[in-house]
Amino acid sequence: MAEQAQRRAFEAQAQEKPTHNNHAYEELRHLIVAPEQEGIATIQERLDNLEKRTADVSVVVAEAIQMRREKGDDLALAAALAPTIQETLRESVRRDPHVLADALFPVMGPAIRKSIAETLRGMLESFNEALEHSLSWRGIKWRIEGFRTGKPFAEIVLMHSLLYRVEQVFLIHRETGLVLNHVVAPSAPAQDAAMVAGLLSAIQQFARDSFQPGQTENLGNMTFDELQIRVVSGPNAVIAAAIRGHAPEAYNLAMNETLEEIQRHYSSALAHFTGDPGPFRAAEPQIARLLETQYREKPPETRRPRAAMIAGAIAAVLLLGWAGYSTYLLIEWSRFLSELRKQPGIVVVSYTKDGRTFHIQGFRDPLSEDPKKLISQAGLDPDSADLQLAPYYSLDDAIVARRATALLHPPAGVTLSAKNGELIPEGSAPQNWIAQLEEKAPWIAGVSRVDESHLQNSSLRQLNALRGTLESVVLLFPLGRAELDSGQETNLAQSEKNIRALIAQAVPLRQVVTVELVGHTDITGVEAANLTLSRERADQIRAALLHNSVNSAILLPRGVGTSQPLHDESSEEGRRLNRSVTFKVTLSPLPAAGTASSASGAAPAN
């Protein structure tokens, strides 16, 4: 194009001056000036031709801008370009918004996410502050919440005030991704450390390769729902912390410090690590220090105590105390009342409280426990009770037994109990008390029967004992004689006493006593003579007893000779025992009430 222009310019000149006489001059001039003229013409052409000028500038425009920027003057350039660029963008969006949207897409996502995260963080912080300043109200709200949900207050507070909790900390060998140590907060869920550590470092590798090629900087945070994983990396080790909630940035500082400490302390173990985590066991306290739990703030009670708060607290304590004491009294009284209701012989019909006084209405058997005493025993003030208890006869078993005891005065060793109207005496009692029992019991209120199966008659037992004693006595006689052996007098005297006692004791038992005096002989001599001798011996004893004024009617002498020997007579001792008188007692019941008095009358008067 430039060549063409040159040629055209030259031809134009040639046509303007077609003279021949100054041809030489022209030749010369041409020789001297032509190249320059052509140059000028070219330049002229370039300047005049817009197309050419554009083409020229286009070659240098990028370099020019670059040069301008290198001169450090880009602000002016930017200022100059800004309106155009703005206009350009506006125009571009007007024409087709997709072009720009597509171009910006890769940067918009992260930018938006980042902005949202920042906003949320800010909101959380201001929310915290708001909470701090509405302390008491919040406390009340939490209490209401606790009341509503039935959860313990402490749990509500914890739920609302737990800021973050570091649940697990991993110390990981950076190159291999193998776990060097791992700590878990108490009661936090733990995963398999080896696998988690491996996965974490795989993710790290992936992130490094995908997003930041060439850079050694690490992925610092990963967030899964409310679980966040913070990672700090050193040259040979990585610390990862699994955090629930929102830990402050300062926590990373602690992680970094720990990591540096470990890097320093275990530098050679880390460099030569071949899969043995043994040497890193000692690092446990260091990483365990990173397991922290942070609350939004300290519990409300530990806040600055102000005078008003103290006064309020005292008032509250007093109020609570008073309410508590009243409640305590009410509870104690109702407990006492239910105890009182269980008392035999006391019936509570109704009770009312007016001011400090409890009015109790009902009935009371005189034999029941003293209610005033029961009130004192319950730790309550008997004077604050107004008892309106009308007397009555209780048919309660315990009271019936008490009543029977009061009326019957059982002898020592006899107890009385009652069950459904039946009186049950237990133990051993003399006949006369038993007689009294049988006579009086049916008259006692609440007793309809008496069960004597657990009662022993001590008189009867004594009577039988006496009878046994008497019947074992053997009064001895010399061979062939009817006078007692010398030395048998005390034996006779004792027997006489026993007979008297027997008679006396048979009276209340309504028994008639007869004592047979049985005379015996040994087999020496003829039987006829022996019979006579035995009878003589029995008579002899009867006479002695009558002499001592034992009732003659009850003594029946009999001679049996050798017919009822006490012993076999192969020995002299056997024979000696058979020369004797023995007693045999017969008891027979008094035939009828009419004759009873006469039988009693027959009893000896001392």
């Binding site: 060998h173 190159e175 291999t176 080896a194 696998m195 550590a197 795989a202 590798q205 390769d209 899969g275």
Partner: protein, 165 residues
Amino acid sequence: MLQKKVCMLGSFSVGKSSLVRRFVESMFDEQYHTTIGVKVDKKVVNANDEDLTLVLWDIYGEDVFQKMRMSYLRGMHGYLLVVDGTRRQTLDDALRLNDRVVSEIGKVPAVLALNKFDLTDQWEIEPDRETQLAAAGWTLERTSAKTGDAVEKAFLHLAQAIMAK
């Protein structure tokens, strides 16, 4: 306990994940779920009279779309190079991959698993080829993740080689 990082290497669908699953969980699944990224598993084995934990990095297999990321292999103590015996191509690919691994990571103990040995009628690897490989120094195992044949053995050989180092 001693821990060792072991990687599963080989082309896609040769059975790397299946071998890990068989080894760790004693299970097998006919369905193919290609691995995305890395799955980490672990298993305790006893090699040379010592218990050790193998931390198994099951890495996605190379295909035409994605190359292996060598960075996943950093620090590994050994690897199982897995081949699908019914696709001869996967053996050539595996050996090429192996060269790359050796040049970038260096030489570490490895075992070559010729997998899917249960599919004998489709087997494409000639016995001669195996002899050559053995001569070249490879420890070979004809494994089947499906039946479990030689799976334990392959990992155990690898663990022993690692411990012997």
